[in-house]
Amino acid sequence: MNELLKIEGLTKRYSGNLFALNDLHLTLNGGEIVGLLGPNGSGKTTLIKLVNDCLYPTAGTILVNGNPLGPESKEDIAYLPDCTFLNESMRVNNLLNYYQDFYNNFDKDKAWNMLRDLGINQNARMKTLSKGTKEKVQLVLTMSRNAKLYILDEPIGGVDPAARDYILRTILSNYSEDATVLISTHLIADIENVLDRVLFLKQGQLVLNSTVDEIRSEKGKSVDALFREVFQC
C-alpha cells in the first residue's frame, strides 16, 4: 500500500511552552476513510493545518505521497477548513473557474452538477448565501477535486441533521477508492458507520490508531463508546 501521508516527530509548540502537538508519528495509506477524533483542544485542527502548510512545525517532517509540503503536496490534498475561506465577493461560477485555473484535478462538470442539484444560484455572490449554503459550496468545490487525500475539518459540525446526511453522502459518493478521506469531528455517532479507521488524539498525542473493525471485535464496543471512555471528563 502506498504511504499517502507520513508524519514523523511532528511537534507544534506555542509561546509559553504550550505543546499543541508533541512528537506525533502517523502513517496513512490510500483507500481509507479515517476519523480524526478528539475533544476540543486535543490538536486535531493543529495537525490538519500543519499538513496543509497553514502552520509551521516546531519539529518533525511531513510527507504527502512522498513529497515534502509544497506545490506537489497541495495538488494532492483537497482541504476543507472549518470556516468560510472563500472570497465572499466572488460569485459561485467565478469560484468554479478559480478552482479550475489552479487545480489540474478539479472536475468542473461534477461541481456544476452538484451545485445544480442543490439548487444553488451560480451567479450568486458568496456573501449573499446563507451559512449552510456557503458550507455546501465549499464542500462541493473540495469534493469535486480528484485528490489523493481529502482533509475535512469538522465538516458536519454546526449544520442540521439533514445537511449532515447530505454532506456524508457527498463525501462517500465523490471520492475515488484509492484516495483517503481524513475527517476531523467530535460528532462520532453520526460518522462512525462510514469510517474505516480512527485516530484518537489527546493533548497533542496519538493515543489510538486502529480500524473500526478491530475496535468492535477486540474491545467489544462502538467507537463512540470507546471515545467516551478514553476522553471521560
Binding site: 497553514c54 509551521y56 477548513p81 475561506f85 485555473d101 489552479f102
Partner: protein
C-alpha cells in the same frame, strides 16, 4: 501559475480601486473645466464655489492616494492572513510565487494611482490656459534644466519615472513587511502592523537622512558658494534611487521569510 495568481489578485484589487480612480478622473475633468474657463466665473459667489471645489479636490486626491494604499494593505492581509488564507496558502503554488503576485499587483495599482493623480493635477493646475499665463514653454523649462543641472527636462522626467516606480514597489513591500511582522504579535495583530509600519517608515527616513549628512548632500539647501550643487543634486538623486532599491530588496526578503517560516494561520 504566476500569471493566473496575478490575474485574480488584480481582479480583487480592481473591484474598489477602479471606482476610486474613476472619481479621480471625474474630478480632474471638472477641475480642468474650471481652470480652462476661469473667465466665466468672475462673480464673488462663483469664485467662492471654485475655491471650495479646489479645496475639496486637494482633500479628495489625498484621500484617494491614501485609500489606494489602505485597500492594497487590507487585500493583502485578508488574502494571506485571514480565513481566505486557507485558500491562498493551499493553492499548488510556491509561497514566493504567491507573494510575488501580490507585490506586482499592489505595485501596479499604486503606480496607476500615482500616474492618474499626477495627470489629474497636471490637467487641473497646469492647463494650457494657465501655462500661457505663466509665459513658460517646455523649451524654456528644458533649457533651464540643461543650464543648471547639465541634462534636459526629458531626462529629468525619465529619472523621476524610474525613481517613482522603484519607490512605489519599495513602498508596497514595506506595507507587506509591516503586515507580516504584525502577525508575530500574539494579540492586536492589526494594530501591531500599523505600529510596525510607522516604525519602519520613520526608521528608513531617519537612516536615509543620516546617510546623507556625512556625504554633504544635506548642504543642497545651504548657501555655500563652494559647493557644486549640480553634483550634489545628481548624487542625491542617485542615492535616493539606490536607497529605495535596498529597502525594497530587504523588505522583500524579510517578508517572504516571515510568510514561509514564521507566520501561522
Amino acid at each position: 501559475m504566476l500569471g493566473k495568481q496575478f490575474k485574480y489578485d488584480m481582479r480583487s484589487l480592481s473591484r474598489i480601486l477602479l471606482i476610486v480612480h474613476a472619481f479621480v478622473v471625474v474630478m480632474a475633468i471638472i477641475g480642468s473645466f474650471f481652470s480652462n474657463n476661469s473667465a466665466l466665473f468672475q462673480s464673488k459667489e462663483s469664485n467662492m464655489w471654485i475655491i471650495l471645489f479646489f479645496l475639496f479636490y486637494v482633500i479628495f486626491i489625498s484621500v484617494a492616494a491614501f485609500s489606494t494604499q489602505l485597500i492594497i494593505a487590507v487585500d493583502f492581509y485578508k488574502s494571506m492572513f485571514s480565513n481566505q488564507g486557507y485558500l491562498t496558502r493551499t493553492l499548488p503554488l510556491k509561497h514566493s510565487t504567491t507573494f510575488l503576485s501580490k507585490v506586482l499587483s499592489g505595485s501596479l495599482w499604486c503606480f496607476i494611482d500615482l500616474i492618474l493623480i499626477f495627470l489629474s493635477i497636471m490637467f487641473v493646475f497646469f492647463s494650457p490656459a494657465m501655462l500661457s499665463e505663466m509665459s513658460v514653454t517646455y523649451q524654456e523649462l528644458t533649457d533651464s534644466f540643461q543650464k543648471e543641472l547639465g541634462y534636459s527636462l526629458t531626462t529629468f522626467i525619465i529619472f523621476i519615472g524610474i525613481y517613482s516606480t522603484i519607490g512605489v514597489i519599495s513602498g508596497v513591500l514595506m506595507i507587506y513587511l509591516s503586515i507580516a511582522v504584525g502577525q508575530l504579535f500574539t494579540s492586536h495583530k492589526i494594530l501591531g502592523s500599523v505600529a510596525v509600519y510607522f516604525g519602519i517608515t520613520t526608521l528608513t527616513s531617519l537612516l536615509s537622512s543620516g546617510l546623507m549628512i556625512p556625504t554633504g548632500m544635506f548642504s543642497v539647501t545651504s548657501n555655500v558658494p563652494s559647493i557644486d550643487y549640480r553634483f550634489l543634486i545628481n548624487s542625491t538623486g542617485i542615492f535616493l534611487v539606490m536607497y529605495s532599491v535596498v529597502t525594497g530588496v530587504v523588505s522583500y526578503i524579510l517578508s517572504l521569510y516571515l510568510i514561509k517560516k514564521k507566520t501561522d494561520l
